[in-house]
C-alpha cells in the first residue's frame, strides 16, 4: 500500500509510537536474558541493573543440576516431533480433499475446524484422561502425542487447505491429460509444489506441541516423562519462592528452539494461518 504523504510532525509522532512499541515488546525478554546471566550476588542487590555487571554461566549450570532439563527437552522433542510428523501425514490427504471439492463432508470438516477453536480444553481433557487411563496411556508420551496430533489437526488442516488451493488445478489437469494416473499426478506434480507448505505446517505443529502445557500437566505424572514446560514450573517451587537465576536460565533455553523455528517459518505462517483464520 502506498500511504499518502505524512507531514514531518506526523512522521516524528509515528517514530515515537513505534519506539514505544519496540520497548514494550522487548523489555520483558531483555530482562529475562539479563537475569539468566547475572551472578547470585547481583540478583540479591536491591537496585537491579539492566546489564549484568559480572555476567556468568553459573545459572545455566545450576539449572541443569536442579532439574532434569535435558531429559525434559528430550521428551518435548520426541513428543513434538512425532506429533508434527503424524499430524502432517494425516492431515495432508484430508486437506487436499477439502481444498479440491465441496461436499457435505468437507463443509462439516470446515465447520469442525472452526468450532474446535472454541473448546474449553477442560471439557475434552476429563474424558480423555479417563479413556487414556483405561488404556494405560496416562504418563506416557504416546498418549500425549495422540492428544497433540488431534489438537494440532485443525490448524494443520487450515494451513494446508490454503497451500493446496495455491497449487493451480490446471497443472494437475495437464498432467492427467498427458496420461499420468491420479497417484502419479499427486506424487510428481502436487507434492513437490506442496512441500514448503508441508514443512511450514509441520514446524508450526511442532512449536505448538513444544510450547503446550495444559495437556502435559494433566497427563504426565512423573518427572522422567514430563516435558520442558512442566519441568520449568518445578523451578517455581512452593508459595512462589524461586531461585531466580536458574529459573531465568532454564526459561531462556526453553524459548530458543521456538524462536529459531518461528523466525524461519514466520512469513509462511502469517500468510497461511491467519489469512485462513480470519477469512476463507
Amino acid at each position: 500500500m502506498t500511504a499518502p504523504r505524512t507531514g514531518r510532525a506526523g512522521r516524528a509522532a509515528q517514530y515515537a509510537a513505534l519506539l514505544c512499541y519496540l520497548v514494550f515488546l522487548a523489555f520483558p525478554f531483555v530482562w529475562l536474558v539479563s537475569i539468566a546471566f547475572k551472578p547470585a550476588a547481583e540478583l540479591g542487590s536491591l537496585h537491579p541493573t539492566w546489564i549484568p555487571e559480572d555476567p556468568t554461566l553459573a545459572n545455566f549450570r545450576q539449572a541443569f543440576d536442579e532439574q532434569p532439563l535435558l531429559r525434559a527437552a528430550g521428551n518435548s522433542l520426541l513428543a513434538a516431533a512425532s506429533a508434527a510428523l503424524v499430524a502432517v501425514v494425516v492431515a495432508t490427504p484430508m486437506a487436499y480433499v477439502m481444498a479440491r471439492r465441496r461436499s457435505a463432508l468437507t463443509t462439516a470438516a470446515t465447520g469442525w475446524v472452526i468450532v474446535s477453536q472454541a473448546f474449553p480444553f477442560v471439557l475434552v481433557i476429563i474424558p480423555l484422561f479417563l479413556v487414556l487411563k483405561n488404556l494405560h496411556l496416562i504418563n506416557t508420551l504416546a498418549g500425549l502425542v495422540a492428544v497433540y496430533v488431534t489438537w494440532s489437526l485443525p490448524f494443520a488442516l487450515w494451513m494446508l487447505v490454503g497451500y493446496v488451493r495455491a497449487v493451480p488445478r490446471e497443472l494437475e489437469e495437464a498432467a492427467a491429460v498427458d496420461g499420468a494416473g491420479r497417484v502419479r499426478v499427486l506424487v510428481s506434480v502436487t507434492a513437490p509444489l506442496l512441500a514448503p507448505g508441508l514443512v511450514a505446517t509441520g514446524l508450526f505443529a511442532f512449536i505448538t506441541a513444544w510450547n503446550e502445557f495444559f495437556f502435559a500437566l494433566v497427563l504426565l505424572k512423573t518427572a522422567e516423562k514430563q516435558t520442558l514446560p512442566v519441568v520449568l514450573t518445578h523451578f517455581l517451587g512452593a508459595e512462589g519462592a524461586a531461585d531466580l537465576g536458574p529459573l531465568a536460565a532454564a526459561a531462556f533455553l526453553a524459548t530458543l528452539p521456538s524462536l529459531l523455528v518461528f523466525a524461519v517459518i514466520q512469513k509462511r505462517i502469517t500468510g497461511g494461518m491467519l489469512a485462513g483464520a480470519v477469512k476463507n
Binding site: F121, Q266, N280
Partner: protein, 301 residues
C-alpha cells in the same frame, strides 16, 4: 454400459478415494476430539469422581443446580469475563496501532516485526515466568524503574488483592498482541492504496481516511480476530497458572483454573465437566460473532 453409468461409476470410485483420503484425519478427530467432547458433556450429568469404587451414576441436572449456588464458581466466572474483555480490548487497540505503523514506510519496521515474534513464539509457561521476573518485588525491573522515576517504593504486584488481576491482564495483552497485529496487518495490506490517495486528494484528514477507507476494509478481519481472541482468552490457563495460580484469594482464578482444580486436584470430574459446559455456552455466543465476521470476510474476498 452406457456412458452415463460409466461416469456415475467413475464418480463413485473417486468418492471412495476421497473417503480413503479423509479417513486418517477423521478417525483421530472423531476418537480424540468429537468423542471426548460429547463424553464430557455426558459426564456433566453424572456423579463421576476420581478413585471411586461404586459405579458412576446419572444425576440429571444436579451438577448444574449445584453450580448455580456455587458462589466461588460465579466469582471465577466474573473474573474470567473481566479478564477476557480486559485483555481482548486493549490487545485489539494496541495491535491496531502497531499494524497501522507497520503498514507505513518506517525505518525500524523490520525490528518491530522481528520483536513481535517473541511473544508469539514463546511457550506460555516461559511468558509467565518472564513476567514474574519483571514483577518481582525486590529483584524485578518494574519496581526498580518506578523507584528510579520516583513513583513510590514499588509493590508486590502479583500478590496484591487489587493489583493481581490488572497485572496478569497486562501480561495477557503483551502475549496476544502479535497475532492480532499480524491479522490486522494482513487486512490492511489488502486495502487498495488508490482509495487512500483518492480520499487524500479529496482533502480527507487522517481520521476521516481511517474511518471511511481503512476501517471498512479491515472490519471483517477485526471482528473475526476479536471474537477469536475473546474465546481464547476466556479459555486460557497456562499463563495465569504460572503467574499467580489463581491467587491471591482467588482474585485471578479464571474458570479454566477453577475447573482444573476441581477435576484434577479434588477429582470431581462430573462437576468440573458441568463447568466446562457453562464455559462452552459463553464461548458459543462469541463463536456466532466470529462466524458472522468470517462470512462477511468471505463475501469481500
Amino acid at each position: 454400459m452406457t456412458s452415463s453409468t460409466a461416469r456415475a461409476g467413475a464418480r463413485r470410485r473417486t468418492d471412495h478415494g476421497a473417503w480413503f483420503l479423509v479417513l486418517p484425519a477423521l478417525l483421530p478427530i472423531l476418537l480424540l476430539s468429537v468423542g471426548p467432547l460429547l463424553y464430557g458433556i455426558a459426564l456433566a450429568f453424572t456423579d463421576s469422581q476420581a478413585g471411586r469404587t461404586e459405579p458412576t451414576q446419572w444425576v440429571g441436572t444436579l451438577n448444574f443446580q449445584d453450580l448455580l449456588h456455587d458462589t466461588l464458581f460465579w466469582d471465577s466466572f466474573r473474573i474470567g469475563l473481566l479478564w477476557a474483555v480486559g485483555v481482548t480490548v486493549p490487545q485489539f487497540l494496541l495491535a491496531l496501532g502497531l499494524a497501522l505503523l507497520l503498514d507505513q514506510r518506517l525505518r525500524l519496521r523490520w525490528l518491530a516485526r522481528a520483536l513481535a515474534i517473541i511473544p508469539w513464539a514463546m511457550p506460555e509457561v516461559v511468558v509467565g515466568i518472564m513476567w514474574r521476573l519483571v514483577y518481582n518485588p525486590d529483584a524485578g525491573i518494574l519496581n526498580e524503574t518506578l523507584r528510579d522515576l520516583g513513583l513510590g517504593d514499588g509493590r508486590d504486584w502479583l500478590t496484591g488483592l487489587a493489583t493481581a488481576l490488572p497485572a496478569v491482564i497486562l501480561v495477557g495483552v503483551w502475549a496476544g498482541m502479535p497475532q492480532t497485529t499480524v491479522a490486522l496487518l494482513a487486512g490492511l495490506q489488502n486495502t487498495p492504496g488508490e482509495l487512500h490517495e483518492a480520499a487524500a486528494l479529496d482533502g480527507a484528514g487522517a481520521w476521516r481516511r481511517f474511518r471511511t477507507v481503512t476501517w471498512p476494509a479491515i472490519r471483517p478481519v477485526a471482528l473475526a480476530i476479536t471474537a477469536l481472541n475473546f474465546i481464547w482468552n476466556f479459555n486460557s490457563f497456562a499463563l495465569v497458572y504460572v503467574l499467580t495460580s489463581g491467587g491471591p484469594g482467588g482474585r485471578t482464578r479464571l474458570p479454566m483454573l477453577f475447573a482444573y482444580e476441581e477435576a484434577f486436584r479434588y477429582g470431581q470430574f462430573g462437576y468440573a465437566a458441568a463447568m466446562g459446559c457453562v464455559m462452552v455456552a459463553v464461548v458459543s455466543v462469541m463463536l456466532a460473532f466470529y462466524l458472522v465476521g468470517r462470512l462477511r470476510g468471505g463475501d469481500d474476498a
